[in-house]
Symmetry: C2
């Protein structure tokens, strides 16, 4: 267990935004909350999942909602803790630690905000290793763990517990409806996990991975080195395309942000085009009519100058961007994993072919 | 405390359908369930609210949903009990008895079905004295009692607890969304009430009122007497209009059934027309351009031959019908009551003027 510095949390925000693969919402507001809490003397500890006892009880938190809404509403760090407290009230017991459901985007900071108020550590793990739009797109669902209970709170004082759900899909449908009624953003505490379940089914060490990634970007920018190269080296990633944003189509449907963007190549890709479709996150990339990368591999669109991530809700004409791929968590490369988060889960009738070949089986 | 006979329950179904004022859904399917349960030897007891101790805990049940859907889906009597059991699990204590939120329509039988499975009595009271479409249209809301918690279950095994709500309106919004996701019908257990709260704020003896009313109709039909006259005498009601259905407009919007019907007069009303607007229930009746009756007075459309109620979802061209008014519960005639359920609560900018004048203050 080690204590996170504010510098770690600044790096976490940068790294998580890259791992968000275009979605998950910008961590900026959550970072502002954490700066304030650290100014007030709060400190949050990070615990390795291997240090959990099998019967430790772990709270699993997230902000659920449309990224565009979380852009406009300020983050309330206490809401993250209130969702956990509602779950403690429901279960009649306290949690040993808190973890995030997704390390990609703002939700990387959700367990840190909750932990700051609750005085318990954050587990260095998540259940996506990236960002995904729906509750059943997790390694916990791949492991067929129980979807319920879930607590959902809003800033007005409304509080809902989904105490039983017929399936992960039903949990997603019901909790999404509640979130929509709350104004398309809700602080949630997902089904609690035992230490054993976290060790067996979570994606380990993703918080420290995001911090390492963020620090690589910060260091490159500080030393005027190439941040893209630093990211690829840090995470064993592959560069797919470098260019300029030429087209953006975007629409909000049923709480999801759908659309596509097209890059026109620069440098060695001059004269070529890359198209990327998104459903909150970047899902599939095509070049010359062929899918060259797809979920669950992480497709990241980065500012070519700074290495910072560009979100699907913010990408705009004229930006100079580099598209890279990072390896997917191993659990998503299993048949059950691909069933949950492969291209078909997003409506694309294409086989999954990893950018990384066999290397991808390392998480 | 007296045990209900199956004959009482048959009468309850008839009386409750009349008190439903066009809404609340037909009790027919629930009655079929109760016939089966009574065939199996079950018996349900009715307890007078005055016999409750102040600290007795009372479950308050209803089926929430669109009447048209409850017409098509068979009633599951166990769901009524499951909602109560979910509430007992949430609170960590057992209930002394169960009562219905509304005596009008199918929900009059909801506490009887729950009680049959739970082995506890039904309180002879409700919180509407009729049927209304929304959760805040109750005497409990008039009394400013707590709106939460609420449990909502569906036949698939989904179970949601609204553990805190910012207001009655928020409780309505959130629980309505859950109900919609469940397929527009859900078995719910509303905020539990103490014996004291039931005695102070419920509408007393409405179950026995509905049974008495149903028996008056049954007896009139058996003896070939005029059932309309029997109803008016039993309930101190007033006949407003007798005629034939000439127009029906109906649309389903946001889970509600909205529309209007027009009757052309027969007998002493020949040559005249009566228009009634409905929002699930009959809300306002106009004659020659003037509102002659409105909520919270009960406007009931009855089959002129049998005295049985005609629902807003079933009224059709050519039916011979008599429109009567029955007195509203006294709590709805207070300023706070009219604020919750007067014509303005349904969007009509007309003052409430009771058909019964001062007599209406008796519930």
């Amino acid at each position: 267990m080690n204590v996170l510095t504010l510098d770690d949390i600044e790096a976490l925000a940068i790294g998580a935004w890259i791992l968000g693969t275009g979605g998950g919402g910008s961590p900026h507001h959550a970072l502002l909350s954490m700066r304030r809490l650290y100014q007030d003397g709060v400190q949050v500890a990070l615990i390795d999942p291997q240090d959990l006892a099998d019967d430790d009880q772990i709270a699993v938190v997230s902000t659920q909602g449309a990224p565009l809404v979380t852009q406009e509403r300020l983050t309330d760090s206490r809401a993250a803790a209130r969702a956990v407290e509602a779950m403690e009230g429901h279960l009649g017991r306290r949690f040993r630690a808190v973890m995030g459901i997704e390390v990609g985007g703002a939700n990387a900071l959700q367990p840190v905000m909750a932990a700051a108020h609750l005085g318990i550590p954050v587990v260095d793990a998540d259940a996506m290793g990236r960002a995904y739009p729906e509750a059943q797109m997790t390694t916990f669902a791949v492991g067929n763990l129980h979807p319920a209970p879930l607590t959902s709170v809003d800033p007005r004082g409304n509080e809902v517990i989904v105490s039983a759900a017929a399936s992960w899909e039903w949990m997603e449908r019901i909790s999404r409806r509640i979130c929509t009624e709350f104004g398309s953003t809700a602080a949630t505490c997902k089904a609690p996990r035992s230490g054993y379940e976290v060790k067996r089914w979570a994606v380990p060490n993703t918080t420290s991975r995001a911090i390492r990634l963020g620090k690589a970007v910060m260091e490159a920018n500080r030393t005027h080195a190439d941040p893209i190269a630093a990211i690829l080296e840090s995470e064993a990633g592959k560069r797919l395309f470098t260019g300029k944003i030429a087209e953006v189509e975007r629409r909000t449907t049923g709480g999801f942000l759908l659309g596509r963007t097209v890059l026109e190549g620069l440098g060695q890709e001059r004269g070529e085009r890359l198209e990327i479709a998104f459903q909150n996150e970047w899902v599939v990339a095509w070049r010359a009519g062929s899918a060259i990368a797809s979920t669950p591999d992480l497709i990241c669109l980065l500012d070519s100058d700074t290495g910072e991530a560009i979100g699907t809700e913010a990408v705009r004409y004229g930006q100079r961007a580099t598209v890279i791929a990072l390896p997917a968590p191993a659990l998503f490369l299993t048949p059950e994993g691909l069933n949950r988060v492969g291209p078909a889960a997003f409506g694309y009738d294409i086989p999954f072919k990893s950018v990384f070949g066999h290397e991808a089986h390392r998480s």
